[in-house]
């Protein structure tokens, strides 16, 4: 259900944007979804298919870029990609880490037909 409400927000945003450009159709949308954004790319793709029929976005190609988790360690200051979601510094094993990347939920760009 979570991805469905996210998909509705995306649809509202891109349809409003497409209307402003005088577009008849949105053919492709590129979004970034972080590994720890809480959104599943598969479920989001499915939800977009559910919400878009009957709108300018019907049949659009959804291009989802997954953003890997990158942590910065407060101990050793190393910034590194994390292979697991356990929030442990891959360099020194420290547990005090901040998320640098991986929480993204962003609209990047879209292709429209005018």
């Amino acid at each position: 259900m979570h991805e469905l409400s996210i998909a509705s927000r995306i649809l509202d945003a891109i349809v409003t944007g497409a209307e402003a450009e005088g577009a008849l159709r949105i053919t492709r949308l590129r979004v970034q979804v972080g590994r720890v954004s809480g959104v599943s790319p598969e479920a989001l793709a499915f939800a977009m298919q559910v919400v878009s029929p009957g709108t300018r976005a019907e049949g659009l190609e959804l291009d989802i870029e997954t953003v890997e988790l990158v942590l910065r360690c407060r101990g050793c200051s190393e910034q590194s990609p994390a292979e697991s979601l356990l929030f442990t510094c891959p360099a020194c094993g420290g547990q005090a880490v901040d998320i640098v990347r991986g929480r993204e939920l962003r609209l990047v760009d879209m292709d429209i037909d005018t």
Partner: protein, 215 residues
């Protein structure tokens, strides 16, 4: 065909309304606690215990978020707490827009503390800011020591974790040390408080924390 740059966050609109809620609440001097946790973790029981312990010493209200129905709201109304019920009609979390609607039903000048009891769920509520001053999560002793590693985001987002149903600890196989080390592994700054709404254990510490938030 034409490519349009969008470069915007999907939750930007939610964050904008959350900022607006936060300003509204702060300007009226209301401290707002977003209370999150699994279904059955004991969020409403914690609020019932809070009502009894606070008595009339703090003027407060609750926004209850549920997918359907108003069972929790009635439990709190019985204790004389003003409650606004929000039904999300299927959505698994409260968002800033829903909370803004809830705020319109409250007399903010007559309260100093507002609890927003989120929809029971360890995942989605962590992602949506609602304009709160503090995020508190309730994890019950019956949920197991693996939850921080399975649902790290909520643990990372929260300011305080209430370990509820603490009176059950002697009867459970829960490895408390393993749970606490899992909590500090995923969220090193998170404070943990053991509370039993049933026996009153930890109630003083909880009420003390709330009073500290109220300043």
């Amino acid at each position: 065909m034409k490519t349009i740059r969008l470069e915007s966050g999907i939750l930007d609109e939610n964050d904008r309304i959350a900022d607006e809620n936060e300003r509204t609440l702060r300007s009226r001097g209301v401290v707002t606690v977003n209370l999150m946790g699994s279904p059955g973790a004991g969020k409403t029981s914690l609020l019932e215990m809070t009502a009894v312990k606070l008595g009339g010493s703090v003027r407060w209200a609750v926004i209850e978020g549920d997918i359907e129905g108003s069972l929790d709201a009635r439990r709190l109304e019985r204790l004389g707490v003003p409650v606004v019920q929000i039904n999300t009609s299927g959505a698994c979390h409260l968002d800033a827009h829903m909370v803004r609607e809830g705020l319109r039903c409250l007399d903010l000048d007559s309260i100093e503390l507002l609890f927003v009891e989120n929809v029971g769920n360890l995942v989605c509520p962590a992602e949506f800011r609602i304009g709160e001053s503090r995020k508190v999560m309730v994890l019950s002793t019956t949920e197991g020591e693996d939850k921080p590693r399975k649902y790290p985001l909520m643990f990372r987002e929260s300011d305080l974790m209430v370990l509820s149903k603490a009176d059950l600890l002697p009867h459970l196989d829960l490895d408390l040390d393993a749970l606490l080390s899992a909590v500090s592994a995923v969220s090193p700054d998170l404070s943990v408080m053991q509370v039993s709404s049933r026996s009153g254990e930890g109630a003083g510490q909880w009420i003390g924390w709330l009073r500290e938030c109220l300043g």
